[in-house]
Symmetry: C2
Subunit: 349 residues, 2 copies
Amino acid sequence: MEYIKTIYLKDDKLFILDQRLLPNEEKYIELKDEKDVYNAIKNLAIRGAPAIGICASYGVYISLLKYNYKNFTEFKTKSKEVINFIGSSRPTAYNLFYCLKRIENIINSTNEINEAINLIKSEAIKIHNEDLEKSEKIGENGLLILPNNPRIISHCNAGGLATGGGGTSLSIIYKAKEKNKNIFVYVDETRPLLQGSRLTAWELKKQNIPYQVITDNTAAFLMKMGFVDLILVGADRIAKNGDFANKIGTYSLAVNAHYHGIPFYTAAPISTFDFNIENGNQIPIEQRDKFEVIKFSDSIVAPIDSDVYNPAFDITPHNLITGIITEFGIIYPPFYENISNLIEKVWIK
Amino acid sequence: MEYIKTIYLKDDKLFILDQRLLPNEEKYIELKDEKDVYNAIKNLAIRGAPAIGICASYGVYISLLKYNYKNFTEFKTKSKEVINFIGSSRPTAYNLFYCLKRIENIINSTNEINEAINLIKSEAIKIHNEDLEKSEKIGENGLLILPNNPRIISHCNAGGLATGGGGTSLSIIYKAKEKNKNIFVYVDETRPLLQGSRLTAWELKKQNIPYQVITDNTAAFLMKMGFVDLILVGADRIAKNGDFANKIGTYSLAVNAHYHGIPFYTAAPISTFDFNIENGNQIPIEQRDKFEVIKFSDSIVAPIDSDVYNPAFDITPHNLITGIITEFGIIYPPFYENISNLIEKVWIK
């Protein structure tokens, strides 16, 4: 299966598919420096936790190429500045910080400017390639939990557009398609920015996977009518106890899945786990602009001076999760114990 | 408190505020015949279960004025035709059928054309005035269930725009405001047609009631964080056992309220009860056009050839309801018994 090229480096130039224009236009834009990278992430030209991490890694590389340095100390100061600046673009998705930490570690492994720059480049490419592999493995591991002829609710976009490969939760759907499984996807449109209807539906269409777009309001009623076998979402940050942040609306799906006895899975690479925090209460939640809600394209859809509460993410507690599908296998409850065990086995210090 | 004039008859001409243009433009349009009335209801220039009933009643009157009749038999045939046609505009809200039945009964009470036409007019005006009174009483009765400083989630629009008075569920909020209660409303935007952000926020703004607009995705997370004391919604049709149809998304709110132990009330006049049906499974649910979901104003927000599942309503079962606030008082569980008892007392045969 051929996946979307969401991000690529060519002749030391960084290009991304501008996701703000989808599904109407497929246009690549060049990100020329750390400001471009920061804005592209902040304004959602690129989004999705793993894709943000990849973009940030390449972003440090192309940004540091632009400057001249008197010595390694100056280079190191600049690199820290660039890393911190790009890292301040969005607060919730952990992969951003995970990837920037890897880039920082690589810089700390040398004291020579050219070598550092070459190492950053190869680390960024490695992060990208690893992510492609992780997508494949998450997809394969996820096949185990699919019933026959599954009817799946997806939320936001955790597909090729959100990663370096086929996606996290959507990768499972793509693997099922490759195996000729009979799948059907209900695509939550995912207000306010419609990553479901704009991006997930666009991906599924390209891969010839049958789907229906629904308003987020419709998901619970579909569950009640017995139309749903499984909920499958991505994750932006997972705490040590399994609580996780994901696109606003995920928590409502989890509560409804629990009430209706429907399995609820999240799919994410290990780079999404934040081992500095014990539970979901410690995950910072990004608050976004009110005009995402009260304007729509050029239309005003609420009194213009309305107050708005617009968190980009919510927290789903581990007790509502059936399992977490990672590239190393599926983690089941008790999550705190099983997450610790898996991490001890696989974590690259 | 002064309410919005949603619908009025002047010199035998019928005018409605075109709700499709809100919050950007306050424009009244004239409905000249049964076709206009049918289209205004079907295309949501006027909406809200009680308001639809009032509009349909006046609609029969102004439509029947336009024709010449050879005799009463011809008049009666025409009136049946007009009533059936207007009644076919939308299938779910029961008030439409309740009001048209009253108009039909009035016609059956005479055999003289002019008298019939006069009786229809006064019955339509009576229906309108009664609705204003019902709004007041629902508002007053609802005050009993408000805690101190209540933070309320509202869904869709069950305000002045949806009735002949201050509303059903919003009427309670207006009464609380009159009593100087400290209230705060979270306004579910209510996809796909945004009756929450376009209409409810507009009404609350006019009445100086503090509110925040939220995407429907955000309601459950607010409940989890302890920000919500009460859910208050309207109803389009209520079955004998208390199951009720309301705007899509209501069911999800009810499940989430149940999970979080938050009281969940619906407010509606007795004309919303359909005593022909035992439970919610028998309520017909309107399916609406896919472009309500995949187009937004002039923007395309999903692949244009996407399949869409777009029910306008869902069914909330009685076991998730704390109480039903009517003009005659609040109905509590056991609903089947208590609905029957109330109806026996108050129903006008």
